[in-house]
Symmetry: C2
Subunit: 210 residues, 2 copies
Amino acid sequence: MIRVAIVDDHQLFAETLAMGLSTIPDIDVAATFGDGAELLDHLDELSVEVLVMDLEMPGLSGMEVLESAKTLPPTLIVTMHSSEDQRRQATDAGAAGFLPKASPLVDVAAAIRALAQGATLPQDTTLSEVLEAHASPVLDPRAAALTSRERELLVCLAEGTTSTADLAHQLYISEKTVKNHLASIFDKLEVADRAQAALEAIKLGVAPRS
Amino acid sequence: MIRVAIVDDHQLFAETLAMGLSTIPDIDVAATFGDGAELLDHLDELSVEVLVMDLEMPGLSGMEVLESAKTLPPTLIVTMHSSEDQRRQATDAGAAGFLPKASPLVDVAAAIRALAQGATLPQDTTLSEVLEAHASPVLDPRAAALTSRERELLVCLAEGTTSTADLAHQLYISEKTVKNHLASIFDKLEVADRAQAALEAIKLGVAPRS
DNA sequence: ACGCAAATAGGCCGCAAGGCCTATGGTAAC
DNA sequence: GTTACCATAGGCCTTGCGGCCTATTTGCGT
């Protein structure tokens, strides 16, 4: 779980980005702030691993935060007007990555993973390679232990197919096999029943959030 | 379920706004588009009830869309630089509402509900009253039939407390009562067991999405 | 060639879950 | 003051779930 803080003066953007990132199973949004001053007031208490910040902000701007604070976590700049100048300025000031707000969410997630591992984002054409290398979420060890068939079953479960008979029909296997798979799922996810398994599958990103 | 389309050239914003709005139980995001031309190409097929659009866009801007298209659904403008001029221009061109991107998500949701009912957002101080009037989601009739105690039980369920005994302890009631509540929940939500009830509770917004 | 894990399938058993019924005290509506 | 609904609680019964075994076939790695 990578702990992230978001700093952006547009509340709607900050809020929805927080929600979007929260749905990614290996990213946890610890807090969101409206400007740099707020951030610096609370950063110590939060043990944040990666910072996601806008440059344009009222009060303390992102640029000023980068320049003033010495001990920031690796910081990803996500900004609207991404000129070459800004980019250079920001990286000179200590930003570990720089993405335009036109990027898709998966790229932001990939960038966060890269920064969490101590990497910095290149500004040249190798950027897309770095992002692709970190494209897939780091699965929880419990979820990683699941076999492909167990994952299929979990998806059905999380979509509301809960009875043994229905699961058997939907997967073209016998009821006995369904129960076997379920038993090993319960074991691996450390849960007691179908209900908990379905909820856990969604939390871990194994099944989609409808 | 209010069907909404989002138009914004900043993919990250459009994507996360779509996710954020999707988590609101009475709002359904039918599609997102990157500029006005894309929107106009597909709008007919989608039967969208409310449009959420940025003004600043490459290609066909929001302003141009408002002026060119005659038969748009009620349109909410969500923009970054909200000057009085822009606001007047947009409403003159047919926008039914205007909010800055600094607004919280709940306000956007409230505005969408207002527009879906045919209202237009006022620009004066009565705006907050209108938003407050539409602040709470229009609950699914099935969820609306639940009693307060049944909702409490569903929240526990959706958070992973699935056994009768645990539920009884957590709510300070007997196991028998838990089963009674569950039975009426199954009846009202039209589900068969605890697993489906937990999933449905999250879908309907009765229980939080952790 | 061998071993290991996954996917399939079955048997057996005990307990919990879900269906269906009655009942009582409290409270809000009319 | 009567009606209606909610929250509480219990009994009874059947089915299905989950726990614990064994077993066969397939495929992958070495």
